[in-house]
Symmetry: D2
Subunit: 266 residues, 4 copies
């Protein structure tokens, strides 16, 4: 009888077909972050027990656009960029677990299947979307990284625009925002095949960057709009009060996390 | 503390954001099936223990194109067809488990995220692809369902063509092929977040149609080509001997399966 | 010195690279038509001289979804369906030219480049879009062609939904609507390379089907919504009064048209 | 009677729907250029009279990948980047016209409709494709602009890969190659609606950048592969001898050209 290999499906004799190779996963990317406050009740209702609202500023939300190039340890994907480049837009809130503050991604859209696969492992609730963000450029009409530079960012899924933002940079900043600054507390859940309403996998996991480098952050302001859609609830995180907006280039390594609790088989 | 709802991620207070609603899932579709024999060793190496090669004709493969419209019980997706229509191409082999013959999907590509989500539940190892198949039509140049009618079918992923077929119909047929005719034996596996090389979920599940209706099957011949790609192994299922080709319109309901064995937490 | 061949660009020694082969072009497709009345002034302002508003019912609009398979005379595209299948949504009004009534496509979105190329030849003002329409099916949850059957149809471009309709069939119908029932009067225009504001090509052309066959038309009612977008004006054709909705399967041949007038070089 | 406005179709009362606004068009982009020599006969057969092969090095070809952000004079598209960002891959050769050397784009693929529209005006023979190129990045695994940096670049159309390259940078360079360094000599042609085999528009036009700025060019080597496809002839420009490869960031303005000769109406 055979043994099959590969970090992810489809598993084969060689492992070569796996939708995503084993971690560590390496990323180069540009982040455009818009932070604002919504009704804390809208955040709280997205935090299943045992998670609780963050003690401070429990209605803070970060909506983040990211333009990534990613690869596994050997970097092969970088030379076939249809396999390394992807874009994403995700909504992050904070929560508390056993007295510690975590970040938590509550909605996320990406534009490649390998990114969906990594999200299943990491607990990011990924859907497919169409994501765009202005890139800074040193020549021509695209913005330089400088005071007054303006960047657009948009998100659509299922042929509907869900969010759009225009960010105007003001100055370099000591931070890139605070909402996405903690370790992530995510659920990894899969329904049972045979018992409706029950879960075959039910884990609360923590993960974060195994390594991180970054350029200077820029701070500015954002005009952000969220739009309704029949199968989306991003717009329920209504914008009550703007906090700020940020631009930063980063390099990240992700290399696993740890299990906080498991109700699998429970 | 909150409770979140929804069959799949992202889970929310309402459940409305779930990437896919709860089963039962209903499907209307057109299937174009090409069956052939490959080296049985190439099939056997894709069957992890305790699965074993089928006793009869262990090198038989079905490569199936399907053009679907699908929905949950209330049919809402049918009226917003970007959420109901998808195409897929998948390779099916047979195997034996405890003396019973099963079908097993070893590779599959789809073109929508909700189809990926359903595959995670059902154990189909889905990737994104670009899938096309000729549709019969009663007027104009597209083929009628009649002897001599010719249908093209193609599969690409990551900007590379992986398979193409031309099927020529000959006559109505008592069967739609035999390789995909058994209950499916699939694995549902997710790597552990914290122990490289181990699995957090490791299930062997069985599922099949809860209801099925179909029009007449048509039988014919196929010219099939498979192409190499760096991250795909479909072409390793080399065509040694053609068996036949089939066209059929079907209606299917899927409503859960059963757990054959679980090594989760093992 | 060389001669290059091909109906359309890129022209080469063989002509094989042409984005679209020479007419005649053959089509098999399903049409979903929604007719309504808008303010006649909104139609009139889209009719450049010498076109005038239609004498009767000058505010009538047809918004038509079509799901096509198309090919040139040898049918090669049908066996490589990524090159034959496309979808479109287009808005048609009527106008008068020298006392004769014409149909005229004022907006159209398609999802393939070969369809854009054909539109440049025929005078259809094509953009890319994402177009979906429910397909009837004899099995499973998709609608049969029968009283009460419901079809959804949607249009998006640049990540924004522009139109959506739900059509409910009532009965077979003697007609498939009247707005798109005349020969088409279209402009073919290309700006001059060197004189801003002038045209290098400026033709008014007439064309229609060289051959046509069709199944029974079905008549019903539609709920239609149009949405604003920064670079689109479809929603300016506001729905003042519904007329009706239709479903029909057709086969069409297009094989050139005739020049009504030319101001090229004028 | 009405007058309609807009640089391109669809023309309306406001001009707002035009697929592309009037020039000048502004571009920020990254160019990855691979130059090589093919059989000069393969170039010559793509040069319709009165164009002739370039006197020196008549078999030189540049295959260029470009990752663009573009906009009209008011820059509105930059803030809705789905309307400003696009990628392209194009093959350039040189030719001679009345004793002067020109560059000429013989094949080009883009991924947005507004880019197709601009190409129709400029005489670029655009098709849709899927184009990817590695982007340099200051952090993480993506390459820095430095000796030894490696960039991948790929092109696909109609679900088939047509070209792929890996470029390795060596050093800063005084040039960005020579094949694409001249004014462009392009044809703008549209078939007549009513006389098969004749042209309604038949112009030879010259254009080039109205303004240009750029960072340092980098020179290196490339491994380039071209692949056959049924409706493409890029691979006929077979690689006989590598010349070099280049990377450069540029800012460009395009603002019209001039008519070299016209056979329109001829």
């Amino acid at each position: 009888m055979a043994t099959v290999h590969g970090f992810f499906h489809p598993r084969t004799a060689t492992g070569r077909s796996s939708l995503v190779p084993s971690p560590p996963w390496h990323y180069s990317g540009d982040l455009l972050t818009v932070e604002y406050r919504t009704d804390p009740a809208r955040v709280a209702e997205l935090l299943p027990a045992p998670l609780e609202p963050a003690e401070e500023d429990p209605g803070a939300v970060a909506l983040i656009w990211a333009d990534w190039q990613s690869c596994a340890a050997d970097g092969a994907e970088l030379l076939d960029p249809v396999r390394s480049q992807y874009k994403e837009c995700f909504a992050v809130v904070r929560c508390s677990y056993r007295g510690r503050t975590y970040s938590r991604c509550v909605y996320i859209w990406v534009d490649k299947d390998f990114a969906i696969a990594r999200g299943l492992h990491q607990g990011y609730p990924k859907k497919l979307g169409s994501i765009h963000q202005t890139r800074p450029h040193p020549y021509g009409p695209a913005p330089r990284l400088a005071p007054g530079a303006r960047f657009g960012a948009t998100l659509a899924a299922a042929d509907r625009r869900l969010a759009q933002a225009v960010v105007t940079l003001e100055e370099e900043s000591a931070t890139n925002g605070f909402v996405n600054g903690h370790p992530m507390a995510h659920h990894r859940r899969l329904p049972a095949i045979d018992r409706p309403g029950t879960l075959a996998l039910d884990e609360l996991v923590e993960s974060g960057a195994a390594a991180f480098e970054a350029g200077p952050a820029w701070r500015g302001t954002a005009e952000l709009e969220l739009f309704e859609a029949p199968t989306e609830e991003l717009a329920a995180l209504r914008i009550e009060e703007p906090i700020g907006a940020y631009y930063r280039q980063v390099g990240v390594v992700w290399n696993g996390g740890r299990l906080l609790e498991s109700a699998t088989g429970g």
